[in-house]
Structures are given as C-alpha cells and as structure tokens.
C-alpha cells in the first residue's frame, strides 16, 4: 500500500508492505497525526501552540507534554552544538521546525508499528524512517537533482539529510546569525528519525566542523559532502552493496 499526501508544506509518502491488518487505516492515522502536528506546532499558523508560546499567551510551564518534549530536544542540540543550532534566534520567531519534523515522523512510524505494520517505509520530504527492511535508500546528489551520491541499506532505522539545494539558506548558524554554508550536504543514519534529523540539521548549522561532531554522536553514521565537494563518511555507514 502506498499513499502520498502533502502535509506541513512537504510531500509525505507512506508505504506499508506487511503486517498491518488495515494498512489504509494505519496510513490515515499517520496523516491525521501529521496534520495535527502542523496545526499545533507550525510557526506559520498564528493560533498554533508554538506561536502562542512565542507571543507569551501560553506560559512556559503550561505547554503541552509534546511541545515540552520538542523544546527539550531543541535545547539538548543547542547545548551540544554550543549554540550553532538554535530555535530562538535573535529577532526571529520561535521556530522548532527542524526538530518537529523528525520527531513527529518518528512518532508516525511508531503509530504504524502499533497498527501491526512490520515492513514499512515513510519518506517525509526527504527524511526517511523504515522498519522490516532491507530498504535501499538513495542519497540525493547535492548538485544534480536526478542523481544519487550514494545508496544505503537500512533495515530498521532512519536517514535524514540537510542541505541548501531545496530551500536555500534556511539553516542559520546561531553563533554567527548567518546562513550555514560550510557543507553541501549532511546525511545522518540513526535508530530514530528524531535523532537523525536533529543531528543532520544541527551538524549542518555547525558547518565543516559538524562532520566530526555528528560522527561522534552515539548511534549516528554520517555521509557528508563539504564545500570542496569532498565526501567524508563514517566507517560504519551502511552502504548498499
């Protein structure tokens, strides 16, 4: 079963091959959850919890357990990157999108697992979470949109990529306030998409030094293309045969 829908401004493909008694219902649960996340956490919707928190209409101690979890993750990565990754940039609205995406799609994968799905693959605008593989996950070439730069084989796990080629200079290095330009592309493989996506974005914000930083994160494998088009990867990266 395959279903594609656009939520949160990007396409989400849900493919369920095995296990779920009612795959269509399981997929619908995923999209309902992602639409709910969009309504609650979008920095572009004035009545979202994120915007109300930013305007002071919701007190920090009154935020929902979900938003609290997201903000804790944001703070963890801000501290871990010494401020390069920061969702509260001076003069800008609170924008936890980078963490919300991975976190919410990982939750979606858990919904599928709870619905009985044993073999599935979710691709949310380029971030991938899988179960019951092997799944062959291509990594888009940073300069040629119709080509790949590597192929990974993932059984149960997640792959996330951060780069500028789709949305331009949207990732800012919180230490300088300027767009991060030290890397062409940063791909992270991890157990969960929460970790993979946040680590990829945070490392991209750090620039070239983000490669070693991401490689040192527990459970993360890295495939990075630096500004000189050099590929650097960890030895444990699951490259497909």
């Amino acid at each position: 079963m395959l279903r594609v829908e656009h939520v949160m401004g990007f396409p989400v493909s849900v493919r369920i091959d095995d296990g779920a008694a009612d795959p269509a219902a399981a997929a619908e649960e995923v999209f309902a959850w992602l639409r709910e996340v969009d309504a609650r956490f979008s920095p572009f919707k004035p009545d979202s919890e994120v915007c109300r928190l930013d305007r002071g209409e919701v007190l920090a101690e009154d935020v929902s357990a979900d938003l609290s979890e997201v903000l804790e993750l944001c703070e963890h990565y801000r501290v871990a990157t010494r401020g390069a990754f920061d969702v509260r940039l001076p003069g800008r609205a609170l924008d936890p999108c980078a963490v919300v995406k991975g976190w919410s799609v990982q939750r979606a994968a858990e919904l599928l697992a709870r619905a009985g799905a044993t073999r599935f693959c979710v691709n949310a605008g380029g971030d991938v979470v899988t179960a019951g593989g092997p799944w062959r996950v291509g990594v888009r070439h940073p300069e040629q949109s119709d080509r790949l730069c590597t192929v990974l084989e993932v059984t149960d796990g997640a792959v996330a990529t951060s780069a500028r080629y789709e949305r331009g200079d949207h990732i800012v290095d919180g230490r300088t306030g300027r767009p991060a330009t030290g890397l062409l592309s940063m791909t992270v493989v991890a157990r969960s998409l929460t970790e993979a996506d946040a680590t990829a974005t945070a490392a991209f914000a750090m620039g070239a030094e983000g490669i070693e930083w991401a490689a040192s994160q527990d459970g993360c494998e890295v495939f990075a293309v630096d500004a000189e088009r050099r590929v650097l990867r960890t030895p444990g990266l699951p490259v497909a045969a």
Binding site: F10, R15, N123, R136, V139, C149, R167, S216, V231
Partner: protein, 144 residues
C-alpha cells in the same frame, strides 16, 4: 617531597582498574574493576624526576614506572607544586578505544553521481512544488 612517590604509586594504581575495565566484557566481572594491588607483569622502567624552584613553591615533575596492563603499557608523569599535584600527563597509553577520541576515523572519497534502483530517496527537505520533478515522485508514481 617524600610524599610524592607514594602518591604517584597510588595514582598509577588507581589507573590500572580503569585500563583493565572492559565495558563489553559482560556484567559479572565487576570484581576485576575493584582496586587491587597492582602487579605489573613485565618491564618496569625506573622512575625519574626533575625539579625546579621558583619563589616559595617548588615545582617537581615525576615520571612513573611503566606498568603493563592487559590493554597495553601505561606510564604517567605527575607534576607537583609544593605538596599538591598540579598536572598528570599520560606518557604512554594503550592503543585502545577507551583512550582514543570518540570520533571514528572518517573515510574520505570524491563526490560521484550515480543512478541506481532504490526504494526511496533521502535529501534536503523538498517543497511540495519541488516534489513533482523529484526522484521520489518518480518512485512513488511507479509504486502507486
């Protein structure tokens, strides 16, 4: 400075369980990590020391013996300022994961463009407009 050598011996003794401790070797070996009398198995180089005096406090640097552990040879150098240890430096340490940086050695390659049959594509967050032209859209169209 008579206290220096006992302190040094204790410093080395305290390090030995650390090198012996192997996190991956199971859960029943905690006894091994308990401090025991160090029994260097083989070569033990003699200690040497040097000292310099500046003003009221004396700075003294003492090299410890080389102690062989199951992970390899360990030797420390301890610097004293007066009676206090001001620095401990590893002169020799085993080539073991515990003593190397947590960053794995990265493999370097040149960027290559390839085409391959894949189930899905990871890339920078694509917009709904960009999706139409993307590899993922082609994969989804094929699978639908």
């Amino acid at each position: 400075m008579k206290r220096a050598l006992p302190v040094l011996a204790l410093t080395v003794a305290a390090l030995i369980p650390l090198w012996r401790y192997a996190p991956s070797s199971g859960t029943t070996e905690t006894a091994e990590a308990a401090p025991s009398t160090p029994t260097p198995s083989a070569s033990s180089s003699s200690s040497s020391s040097s000292s310099s005096s500046s003003g009221s406090t004396t700075t003294k640097t003492v090299k410890g013996s080389t102690v062989n552990t199951s992970k390899g040879a360990v030797q420390v150098e301890v610097t004293f300022e007066g009676d206090k240890i001001s620095a401990v430096r590893m002169l020799r340490q085993p080539n073991h994961p515990q003593t190397t940086a947590a960053v794995p050695k990265l493999i370097s390659a040149t960027l290559e463009a390839q085409s391959a049959d894949v189930d899905t594509v990871s890339g920078a967050t694509i917009t709904s407009d960009g999706y139409k032209e993307s590899l993922q859209a082609a994969i989804d169209a094929k699978g639908a």
